[in-house]
């Protein structure tokens, strides 16, 4: 399956439940049921589905990322993920595909998509490098977080009206490992890619002269948005941290009431009751903290990465315009082949127009998507908080009722 001379070991504690869920659900090939399947997963994606639906299409391609496995070779150790595709699109020969991909492959795909569509907003990938160091790279939590992010990445691409029809995307989903390797080697060579990069850098140094107002507004927005989303990400991470410390102290609390009850007789009931309540609330608090980590944190983090993508998109658009402007200036000043230059300039002008339109179109799609995701994540978090307090309320009210009924019994008996 993996195609390498490597040991593959299934990592424990991975997506057993996830895999089971997906397996159980994706076996139903009924189209309507499939729509339900994916909205049960990360809730913040539900808005994206709505977006696709608005265009009048039923989703016809479903992608999942699961089942991480580690591969150990002489040179390195790395993780591969299973990518499962189900589709009814005619571009695909089959209706089902199963391949294994590693992070490098996702990174390659993103690069290709950005190359082909420089001013479309390509969804973000989880970070390439881990700041904390080597050991963490293979921890269960890290792999699971990455897997979820990779899953979201492919789904965003699959839901994008233009990107999902990219040839590179199709190859990514369908090619076996050796096929993908050889496909990657095709296309513009290393030298020509470098040439493009040099030109791009040169242009960006020069800068754009007549940027349309709306793109300046976009840039201001992106900078402000980036700051805000980074702040929210930090605040949320801080809340998670504070709650973990709270949970730590709370764990010590209930046992003291239980200890105390050992010395009492009349008070045994209420003391044990309070201890029990605190223990139950502890469990609810832990669940609520997990929800925060599973829902709000990844969403905010994704949009932090997104804001970097947006900045890159705006830069690329500027470069395209700068290249056109440079050639246009050259037309006026340099004594070169006017006709050939004019043709080139026309092409560049078209390119600028095309780039601007692509960005404008994708911008409103992205904004809608962002609003949907953010709203969904915060609504879910607020709802979870309500649920949490309702559960704790029930716990304490039950205790109170039990004490009150005892009390009134005593009063009846003594009067």
């Amino acid at each position: 399956m993996s195609g390498t001379d490597a040991e593959s070991t299934v990592l424990p504690n991975q997506t057993h439940t996830m895999a089971a869920d997906i397996c159980g659900q994706t076996l139903d090939l009924d189209e309507d049921d499939d729509l339900e399947v994916f909205s049960k997963q990360a809730t913040h994606r539900s808005a994206l589905e709505l977006e696709a639906d608005d265009e009048g299409d039923l989703k016809d391609i479903f992608v999942t990322v699961d089942n991480p496995e580690s591969h150990i070779t002489a040179i390195e150790t790395f993780i591969t993920y299973r990518v499962l595709t189900k589709t009814t699109r005619s571009e695909f020969d089959n209706s089902e595909y199963e391949v294994r991909r590693r992070y490098q492959d996702f990174f390659w795909l993103k690069g290709k998509l950005e190359e082909a569509h420089p001013t479309l907003i390509v969804p973000p990938l989880p970070e390439k490098f881990v700041v904390k160091g080597m050991v963490e790279r293979f921890s269960g939590d890290f792999i699971e977080t990455r897997r979820k992010a990779l899953h979201r990445f492919l789904n965003h691409v699959a839901d994008h009206a233009i990107l999902s029809f990219s040839e590179d995307f199709k190859v990514f989903l369908t090619a076996q490992v050796w096929e993908l390797a050889s496909y990657k080697k095709q296309g513009p060579g290393l030298l020509s890619r470098m040439g493009e990069t040099v030109r791009a850098v040169a242009n960006s140094v020069r800068g754009v002269k007549n940027r349309p107002e709306e793109f300046t507004a976009m840039q201001l927005y992106v900078e402000a948005f980036s700051n805000k989303i980074i702040s929210l990400d930090k605040v949320t991470q801080r809340i998670v941290k504070e709650q973990k410390e709270y949970l730590g102290e709370l764990k010590e609390y209930a046992p003291v009431y239980t200890l105390w009850s050992g010395s009492e007789d009349t008070l045994v009931g209420p003391l044990k009751g309070v201890a029990d309540c605190i223990e139950r609330c502890w469990k609810e608090t832990e669940e609520q903290d997990n929800h925060l980590t599973d829902t709000l944190v990844p969403t905010l983090h994704e949009y932090v990465l997104c804001s970097e993508s947006l900045k890159a998109v705006l830069r690329r658009r500027d470069n395209i315009q700068a290249e056109f402007e440079a050639k246009n200036e050259a037309l006026a000043t340099k004594k070169v082949d006017q006709d050939a230059l004019k043709e080139e300039i026309d092409k560049l002008e078209d390119r600028v127009e095309w780039a601007n339109n692509a960005l404008k179109g994708d911008w409103s799609r992205w904004q809608k998507c962002m609003r949907g995701d953010i709203k969904s994540a915060f609504v879910s978090t607020a709802q979870k908080n309500v649920d949490y307090y309702e559960k704790c309320l029930a716990v304490w009210e039950t205790f109170l009722l039990s004490q009150r009924s005892e009390g009134s019994e005593d009063a009846d008996n003594s009067s």
Binding site: A224, E242, Y257, L267, K375, A382
Partner: protein, 435 residues
């Protein structure tokens, strides 16, 4: 609150919806309602606290707090008018003097404790300051509680010095010293600090001592852990306050989401701010636990007093037994107990019959005195055990009642906190939905 209930009965507070102010002093309220002891005749409260400055014993300027004690005869309050109460001011040190006097004068009573002189178990750095208004306020409540406890007590409520404490501002200190309690206090201190072993203590008091040690340990631990938990909870709530600020800034650049973000931010701010009230209420719960933590000292003091009287009885009985022994030996001529005199007379010749007779006379007198002493000590010990145990039982009932009430009020606080949480997050969710 409780309709027809004779003053001696346990008042169960059946009302479910407690307001915050009621919760604060639910134990005080039940004391007042029960109208026991002195409270049948007068209302007592520690109404205010004030800062004063003055020169102290070493002629240095110091700042201290005084507390205003208000008293008013119960029957003076009619439907038409509430006359002004009688007022006087007392310092904490005067409360301490009163309590020491009561401890020494009524050693068989489990005397209510005073609130902390200095805040030792504080959940937040701020509340550790003696001049901090919150601390002073809680101390005021604690002092009032102390006075009510004493006023309710079947024995202590009749004490003259206590009555004068409430009614005579000037010269009260001198009156206390005039009772001569200081001398008793000193000898009591010396006696209790000395090491002695009791052979046959009343088992109930031994158990009581163990219980008070256990209770002290567990309440100390509970208060410490509770304070740490409160500290962490404070952190969680307060960090949420940052959301409001960021939402507000973000709403400025969003057209569709702006309103939703802004209003949601407001609710999250309310959430963050709500923790202050929540934790302040919990301080009252902590104070109730602290009172019983400090009560364990009083329990131990009673046990100690029992051990002392028992020890004195055992010593007297032992003395008597040995005197009787000596007499018997002299009479029968057998020496069973070693004495230098006996040895000397053996070695250096028998004593005369007259000498022996004289000795026996002395011993008989000593035996008579000894028997009186033993009878006296026995009565003392029995009386002490009887009266002390009555008070211990009274204390146990009070403790069970009060602590159950405290635990219930704790549950009510948690319920209130949950309700606030539900409301604020439901509101926030509605705002998020509008984004």
């Amino acid at each position: 609150m409780m309709a027809d209930c004779a003053p001696e009965e346990i008042a169960v507070i059946g009302n479910i919806d407690h307001t915050s102010a009621e919760l604060k002093n639910n134990i005080r309220n039940s004391m007042v309602e029960m109208e026991k002891g002195l409270l049948r005749k007068m209302e007592i409260s520690v109404a205010e606290a004030e800062k004063r400055s003055g020169k102290n014993a070493v002629n240095m300027l110091e700042t201290y707090t005084v507390y205003l004690i208000e008293t008013r005869p119960v029957d003076a309050v009619t439907e038409d008018m509430t006359p002004a109460p009688d007022l006087l001011w007392r310092r904490y040190s005067e409360f301490e003097l009163l309590r020491n006097y009561l401890l020494v004068t009524y050693p068989f009573v489990v005397v209510a404790p005073l609130p902390e002189k200095r805040a030792e178990i504080a959940w937040h750095k701020l509340s550790a300051d003696n001049m901090d208004p919150d601390f002073v306020e809680r101390r005021r409540v604690g002092l009032e509680n102390f006075l009510l406890r004493v006023a309710c007590h079947p024995v202590l409520c009749n004490d003259k010095i206590f009555y004068l404490f409430l009614t005579e501002e000037k010269g009260w200190k001198e009156m206390v010293y005039d009772t001569g309690f200081q001398a008793k206090a000193d000898s009591w201190l010396k006696a209790t600090n000395a090491a002695f072993r009791v052979k046959n203590p009343d088992k109930r008091f031994t158990e009581l001592k163990h219980y008070s040690d256990e209770l002290q340990a567990v309440l100390s631990q509970l208060l410490r852990v509770r304070a740490r938990v409160a500290d962490r909870l404070y952190g969680v709530y307060k960090v949420h306050g940052n959301y409001g600020r960021v939402f507000s800034e973000w709403s400025a650049i969003e057209k569709e989401m702006g309103d939703g973000l802004q209003s949601a931010g407001h609710h999250v701010d309310v959430y963050a701010a709500s923790v202050d009230d929540i934790l302040e209420e919990e301080e009252n719960y902590a104070d109730q636990l602290k009172e019983y933590l400090f009560y364990t000292d009083a329990l131990r003091a009673v046990c100690r007093k029992h051990e002392l009287t028992q020890f004195e009885l055992e010593t007297a009985a032992q003395d008597l037994a040995s005197k009787k022994q000596q007499k018997e030996e002299l009479v029968t001529g057998t020496v069973r107990t070693f004495s230098f005199k006996g040895m000397a007379s053996k070695l250096f010749g028998q004593e005369t019959a007259e000498q022996r007779e004289a000795k026996i006379q002395v011993l008989e007198q000593q035996i008579d005195e000894g028997e009186e002493a033993v009878k006296e000590k026995n009565k003392e010990s029995e009386d002490f055990v009887k009266t002390a145990w009555v008070d211990v039982e009274r204390f146990k009932e009070q403790k069970d009642r009060d602590l159950k009430e405290a635990l219930i009020s704790y549950a009510i606080m948690q319920i209130s906190m949950c309700k606030k949480g539900i409301q604020v997050w439901t509101n926030a969710k509605e705002c998020f939905n509008k984004m």
